[in-house]
Amino acid sequence: MIWHIAKRELYDNLSSLRFALATVLLLGLMLTNAVVHLREHPERVQRYRDRVSQYQNHIASHAANSLYDLAQEGPGNLHKKPSDLRFCAEGGEAFMSDRAWAGHHRWSTDTLKSFWILTYPSATPNRDNVRPDVTKVDWGFVIGYVLSLIALLFTFDSISGEREHGTLRLTLANSIPRHTVLIGKFLGALISVNIPFILAVLVNLLVISTSSDVHLGAEAWGRLGIIFLIAVLYTCLFLALGLLVSARVQRSAVSLVILLLVWVVFVVFMPSTLVSIAGKSTPSGPTFDFSERSWKIHGELRDEYSPRRHKEAEGSIKRIQIDGAYVTKDAEQQERLHEERLNQRIAEVHQARTITRISPVTIVQNLIESFAGTGFERHLQFLENVRAYVREFRTFIVDTDSADPESLHIFGVRTGMSQEPVNREAIPKFEDTLNLSKDFNTATMELLLLMLFVLVLLSGAYLAFVRVEV
């Protein structure tokens, strides 16, 4: 019987104006998305490849000089790999730097050079940008905004409309329990919303996969599948909301007004207002303070070491040891400073993101970002990869140095370290990877939250419908 009702709903919808309009709208958006992706992605991948080869040349040229040179210069720029699924979610990638810089130098004297540290450059696409501000059309936008609106437009009259026409009474006069009617209506609406969506997704993927420039591997298809399921879950949320309001309200017009206002508040305004209300767009202090602090700490260290250094004769082991301690300690301090600043920034973003989770559209966009391999969580993963690599690189330097019998094994000074050139093949190479299981871990909370919302709304719709007078 459920199936019977669902089928009737489906047939009703298929011939309606909203179905046609929804199909056209979704198809148009998804086609644009695919075409733009094909235009932009190959360039992006090419740029990444160029940069990776630059990085490898950088390492190779220093490795050919000496181990000291390599240890002093560092591996250079480490680049973030662009995701193949960027068309699913832009994820504000423009606002996050696509590199980490493991090679920042600050000072040199006639005998000493500062050691490299890992720093995190920030991206400032906005400074030069006088263009109008818009959201990129990606799957996240289509699902988060357009599909949710369509879901509401498909359900706002599904119960109140029938009540107005009197057909609801007729249906319930048969021996059908109310929940069957509700589930039937829900399924019918779900299928009819998903038909245009699936169509649009298929066209989108067809266009993207026919191009020879973009390769989607097995894992990418798996991720796409997950994103699709998330989209369906998200649609369920809005369908349930639509049914709930439609069951409670007598007239369809009123039901639509309520739904639209709820939609506008939760989807359009909540995400940005909440961040600001939480006050987390607070400036964390101007930039010049940071560089001042950095030089101050460096100055203190220099003042501490320089009398001790000058007591010892130039070239003596003792002097080399003090110099080495000075340089390595300086690098450690400065790196910690940068690390602290990064962590503070990340904490601010985390706080803001936690608050915006009340809005379902933020949840779904975060989820899509996680699985598309873009966005903030992905950036954190990249930073994690960078740190792991930096550890590996440093261990490599120590190991190679201890393998050289002529070296004094004092880090930080040219005379204290191995002067042998390094075999470039042996140096660990940075490769940025994406990890599906990690993505699942970061997404679990949001996935559960989304499910919770759906369940609450569905049971709400059930209760409302069971108790309502026809």
Binding site: S16, L17, R18, L21, L25, G28, L29, T32, V35, R39, G92, F95, M96, A123, T124, R127, D128, N129, V130, R131, P132, V134, T135, K136, V137, F141, Y145, V146, L149, L153, D157, S252, A253, V254, L256, V257, L260, L261, V264, V265, F269, P271, S272, T273, V275, S276, I277, K280, T282, P283, S284, G285, P286, T287, Q344, R345, E348, V349, A352, F376
Partner: protein, 500 residues
């Protein structure tokens, strides 16, 4: 008769649920967001004041003319609460040096430095109106004609001696009155919150600008109401009219602006940047050749540009090559905090050199600006203008750019500050020439008499006059009003011809 009709419609509209909901939701959103926006403005103002103070201190500590950092700070615009525009995004500190002519693209930023926070979009009052007002206008309009036709009351009304135009007019007037109530209430609330806030001072001009914003909002509201009415007149059934209105809304407000800018690429010509950069570089290379020639011909035997001067706190001015903003300069100068006694005989030579250099540099920077200005226009401004033009095919784009123009947060409004910065740069350079600063001792040494920084020309910046704001907003406002007229005419035609 018209009065009766208007009264009836007004009562009809006022008693509805949608009216209550409209007022409630608008007030809620506006109050919450104004609160947030005022806090944000206060934060930016504090950051501005700190920066001004800090830059002032730094200036007073400077010992020589050549090392002077004249940094101008752009105050936040209090009207950015209405439309944020580019006010928060673009640079707000501008260094004025005699070495180059400052532009928007050389500006830096004080205040927030956590760039990750750009991930979150910001909101302003116009944005709320863009989304909610248009939606409400459509919700009010969709059944204006179709509903009456369905219920048969339209036929009843027309049996009286009322012309169809009168009915349309009455409906329009009454619905707009109903919609104006929440609109004006919102603006009043915002104004109350603004005037009670201690950090915001609004001048008479600003109230007029806000008046402009209100008028534009009104035109925008009316436009969407007319769209809804047209749909209602053309389509027989209310449910279909409603559905169509919602999709039209979704398309115009949500989809079109984002889709068109994603789809159409407005990148400038690929080689503009490199061509201009090379040209500028050539001009500076030429400058360098002349400099070397001067050094070769001067009475000091060696080709050494520091003339063997020695002093404490020596520092050196180098070049800068910043490709994206086409900033390039190349200068070999020096300055000392304190000059040693034995260098004294060399000082006249250095002064002579700097007289030549000062003149050459200011001339060269003027010449590079001739290349730089159009190149920057082509690189950044043209694509932006193109994109704004594309956006104007949706009423949202028109509304946004008109209100931006009123509040002065559009590109023109912000350029005003940078133009003032350029004028100040010219004033400083003229001052340096007039007072023979380039050839003075204080140009490169900080000893003996210090520099009196108070005699420098002062920078002052006033936001543009209200008449200029009005002139900038006029084209978009005019278009909005025109579309209103066209829509009204279309509705009239459709309605007059339609069977009841």
């Amino acid at each position: 008769m018209l009065i009766t009709l208007i009264r009836r419609e007004l009562l009809d509209n006022l008693m509805t649920f949608r009216f209550t909901a409209a007022v409630f939701i608008m007030l809620l959103l506006v109050v919450a967001n104004t609160f947030v926006l005022i806090r944000d403005y206060e934060r930016r103002l504090t950051s501005y004041n700190t920066a001004v103070e800090k830059h002032r201190q730094e200036l007073l500590e400077t010992k020589t003319y050549s090392s002077v950092d004249l940094i101008l700070d752009r105050p936040p615009n209090p009207l950015s609460i209405f439309n944020l525009g580019l006010d928060k995004r673009l640079g707000n500190t501008l260094g004025v040096y005699y070495l180059y002519i400052p532009s928007l693209w050389d500006a830096g930023k004080h205040g927030t430095n956590n760039t990750y926070l750009n991930l979150f979009s910001s909101i302003d009052i116009v944005f709320i109106f863009e989304g909610v007002l248009s939606l409400l206008a459509l919700v009010f309009a969709y059944d204006a004609l179709a509903g009456e036709r369905e219920r048969g009351t339209l036929r009843l009304v027309l049996t009286h001696s009322v012309s169809r135009g009168q009915i349309l007019f009455a409906k329009y007037i009454s619905a707009m009155t109903c919609l104006l109530i929440p609109l004006l209430m919102c603006f009043l609330l915002v104004l109350i919150m603004l005037t009670t806030s201690t950090s915001i001072f609004l001048r008479t001009d600003d109230f007029l600008r806000i008046g402009g914003v209100i008028f534009t909002s009104f035109a925008y509201l009316s436009l969407f109401y007319l769209i809804g009415m047209l749909i209602s007149a053309a389509i027989r059934r209310t449910s279909t009219a409603l559905m169509l209105s919602m999709f039209v809304w979704g398309f115009l407000v949500l989809v079109y602006p984002n889709m068109i800018l994603t789809a159409i690429e407005t990148a400038p010509q690929a080689d503009t940047e490199t061509v201009a950069h090379n040209q500028i570089k050539q001009i500076w290379d030429e400058f360098d050749r002349e400099r070397m020639q001067f050094l070769a011909n001067d009475p000091v035997p060696e080709d050494d540009w520091d003339f063997g001067l020695w002093g404490k706190g020596y520092s050196f001015w180098g070049g800068r090559d910043d490709s994206p903003s086409l900033l390039y300069y190349n200068y070999s100068g020096f300055h000392f905090e304190e000059l040693l006694e034995e260098s004294e005989p060399q000082v006249p030579h250095a002064q002579n050199y700097h007289r030549f250099l000062g003149l050459q540099i200011t001339n060269t920077s003027d010449r590079t600006w001739i290349v730089r200005k159009p190149a920057l226009e082509a690189l950044y401004v043209q694509p932006a203008k193109m994109e704004r033009m594309l956006l104007k095919f949706s009423p949202v784009g028109l509304y946004d750019s008109a209100t931006e123009a009123w509040t002065g947060t559009d590109l023109n409004g912000l350029q005003d500050f940078f133009t003032a910065g350029q004028r100040y740069h010219q004033a400083i350079v003229d001052f340096f020439h007039d007072k023979k600063v380039f050839e003075s001792r204080q140009w490169f040494t900080g000893d003996k008499r210090g520099v009196d920084w108070n005699i420098l020309p002062q920078f002052s910046f006033q936001r543009s006059d209200i008449s200029i704001n009005a002139k900038r907003a006029f084209p978009d406002l005019f278009l909005l009003l025109m579309i209103n007229l066209v829509l009204f005419a279309a509705i009239f035609l459709v309605f007059v011809k339609s069977e009841v």
